[in-house]
Symmetry: C2
Subunit: 506 residues, 2 copies
């Protein structure tokens, strides 16, 4: 750290400690990546113990009084933790993480890690057999542990606040509810208008597409976007995700569906958005307190932007469709660009969140948020979830899942005890359109550039307004700086309405 | 550990500590596996730091006075460390590892880990460009660190002893020299006799074989051998290896050569031998002091047995050749079983150790051993290695490598500071034939079984006489118990002479 003389000796000690902390977290990520992608079944038990051992070491090394004292000293040294210097924000970030660590007693942490490992294994089996009862006791344990966790942060305005705060620093349950309350009627109205129209045909994409060609095309597209392969790679995983092992190694995964030629592509574009955010955090923040992301919603704003606002746009396909059509000539030989574009943007209530179109996606999130709040408030029981899920699906989207595998068991999150995560997806949608609106205002030629296969203005703008800050600013600060406003539903609804008015002739 | 009431409370404490130690070592193995197979180039620097962080934690956690005291207490409790109980041998094993750990000062350990990481990166580049000068300064550092390491174990009979002991517990340099001195003239004589004969044609195998079919066949063969896929997997790596992440996860790798249809197959069989040893150590030794292997030579006896004694035998191919011929009909349609068998056993001085035939392989090892001893004694300089290498190749095998990539730079070992490892390959060859001789004596039907594609007698015998003991016994103890004699060259030379007399009509 001697090359950074701007930091005080105490600050340098902090940075060295955080660097080691970061190394261990990245090791944990390697274990998780392998577990989800390559590990044989026999490895599960010992892998769980390995992750637990590492988690325990992380806890022991950093939840110490001495480290707390260092933070306290630095707080005094730095003064205002909200000052916009790297030093102040580093101390703020570390303090936040430290306080979350020390609040959790070691036995609870150990129990949680174990419950997550076992919950994940049970969920995999439950989903494969579409049998919720296999997962139910594990989810009960996990929900109970989350309640115990939330209670460590009393007093709170709402029991869901501490969980939400883990993913959206500074965000409150009431704020999210307000945003969703404003959004819901507008989404419902749009969906009703669309439902009255004839849906475009998309049968040409709901077929078996050659996987190798899908991979070739997906790799090509994200290379054009600006994904850096020297610092990343693409693998296949049952549930696509992005993971970071450091500044120099940000990996993505995708999955190929048997009867859908678009799913893997959009999923690859989505993950590349996450990964380009990770790759865009500057090298000076390598192994540094500010080396992360602002929040999951900001992360999701990047992934949804590349997947949807860019990847499902007319401009994008006006450039890429000829290549795509060439690779999948037997499916698309007779399909015009216009029909293709309309087809891949067909609005259709569906069971699976990650396959949902842009107009229905947020409804999936609202359903999950209501369940999560219900579970935490104790007004819903885990045992009733399949029924609650199915009735809410009927209410919001007018369809009922045929089984729990495509219903309440579809998502991985709860199996790892992640409650409070889902709303960030919808917030990310809203943020993506809000950032996009501003980007277009400043760069009106961007749609033309996309139509020429050029994406550097977009990536450059995101680097400047989002990525370069790492985790220095909270999500609402990022949005305020970049767009002049906190997260608000209007730009997203305007974007949706414009897009679907054209496609559906509303 | 409460289900093991045969252990004393102190012993249970030891087992719990070792279990955690083992978890962390297995995490280290995961990091290394990914680094060699999947990591993008940008990840190298941070991965090195991650491994170093974990190495430091292992050292800090276990090189403590308190842990030393626990071992001392247990030594008093157990009495004779050479008693053939699990408790005694566990204490012996842990004491051995502990003493090696505490002798190394932390700064030297850190420097070594760093030098290994950088040495590996430099070696990769040097080999790719066939430029020894890129690797030379790193190797000089590594050799110097090995000398410093050996000196920690003074007094020794020979400076090479402490290095050898890391891989072959209890083995001395003089012992190895004696074995090699007895072996060398017999190998040279056999090679000379062979050189006077017309070599069989092997051009049919030195061609491009379809990789997918190679993989299919390789997977099939090791499945027949008994490799457990529930607890393993096969990947592609530039330098094939086996690695263990626990009782339930023992992985292998292979590599496909462009102009050789046999290399990947024999390499896969080789690694499966290592892996079946790992998978054969009983579950009671999971995360246990005795959960490892006896030594590298014993490990190599398993890999060489399955690769060569089984995999290059007439009996093996009498069963598998029809399938192999079917898959590679365009290459082998007109090649008889007899010609195929003779071809894959052609003796030919060659540059690359891992591609060497059984008759020349040990010469590659002798060359390396002499260089390693020379480097450690200080009678050879790193700078002169390319020249020394080439002149010894000329002396032993009558050929001179065209460049350093297929000469002194071919092996990964020195790049990771592994000096003292190579002799275990030759010792493993000798041990493989010695075990095989005994196995045949007790099970004369085994060749017939192989010819019917049955391998369970072989695997069962190895499980009983080798695998079941884990690391409980030293290599010479294993050999004595299994065969009635320590490692000796006679069975291997008898095996080679019989095999090549038939093939070459000596």
């Amino acid at each position: 750290m001697s090359e950074k003389p701007e930091y005080s000796p105490k600050m340098q000690t902090l940075l060295e400690r955080v660097a080691e902390f970061t190394d261990l977290q990245h090791i944990m990520a390697v274990l998780g990546w392998d577990q989800q992608i390559y590990m044989p079944p026999g490895g599960a038990e010992e892998r769980g113990l390995q992750s637990a051992a590492l988690g325990r070491i992380l806890h022991e090394k950093f939840a110490t009084e001495e480290f707390g004292q260092l933070i306290a000293d630095l707080e005094a040294e730095v003064g205002d933790l909200n000052a916009e210097t790297d030093a102040a924000r580093s101390v703020k970030t570390v303090k936040r993480a430290y306080e979350k660590q020390v609040k959790v007693p070691l036995p609870m942490l150990m129990e949680t890690i174990k419950a997550q490992t076992m919950g994940h294994e049970a969920w995999v089996k439950a989903r494969a057999q579409s049998d919720f009862s296999i997962f139910q006791p594990h989810l009960e344990t996990l929900v109970d542990l989350r309640k115990q966790y939330a209670d460590l942060f009393k007093p709170y305005d709402h029991i869901y606040d501490p969980l939400l705060d883990d993913f959206e620093p500074g965000m409150k349950t009431t704020e999210v509810k307000e945003i969703f309350d404003a959004l819901r009627p507008q989404q419902v109205e749009l969906l009703q208008e669309i439902a009255e129209k004839e849906p475009p045909d998309n049968s040409f994409i709901k077929q078996h597409y050659n996987e190798e060609h899908q991979e070739l095309f997906g790799r090509h597209v994200i290379t054009c976007f600006g994904y850096d392969w020297q610092r990343g790679r693409l693998d296949v995983a049952p549930h696509p995700f992005t993971t970071e092992f450091g500044y120099g190694d940000v990996r993505i995964t995708t999955r190929y569906l048997k009867q859908d030629g678009g799913s893997a592509l959009f999923s690859t574009m989505h993950e590349s958005g996450h990964a380009m955010y990770g790759q865009g955090v500057p090298e000076k923040y390598k192994r540094h307190p500010l080396g992360g992301a602002s929040s999951l919603a900001i992360h999701e704003s990047q992934s949804r932007l590349w997947e949807n606002i860019v990847g499902r746009s007319k401009a994008f396909w006006s450039h890429f469709y000829p290549s795509f059509q060439m690779l999948f000539s037997q499916h698309l030989g007779g399909v015009s660009l216009e029909d293709f574009y309309r087809g891949i943007n067909r609005v259709e209530p569906s069971f699976i969140r990650v396959e949902a179109d842009e107009a229905t996606y947020n409804m999936h999130i609202m359903l999950r948020l209501e369940i999560e709040i219900g579970l935490m408030e104790g007004t819903m029981n885990v045992a009733d979830l399949p029924e609650i899920w199915n009735s809410k699906m009927q209410e919001y989207l007018g369809i009922t899942p045929p089984d729990d595998a495509v219903g309440v068991l579809q998502d991985i999150h709860w199996s790892g005890g992640m409650i409070g995560y889902f709303p960030t997806y919808a917030l990310g949608n809203l943020a993506s359109a809000q950032l996009w609106e501003k980007l277009l205002e400043e760069n009106p030629d961007v749609p033309d550039e996309i139509a020429r296969g050029k994406f550097d203005t977009i990536l450059g703008w995101m680097r400047e307004h989002v990525h370069q800050y790492g985790s220095k600013f909270e999500p609402q600060e990022i949005m305020l700086k970049a767009t002049g406003s906190k997260i608000t539903p209007e730009p997203y609804m305007a974007y949706l309405r414009k897009k679907y008015t054209e496609i559906y002739d509303l």
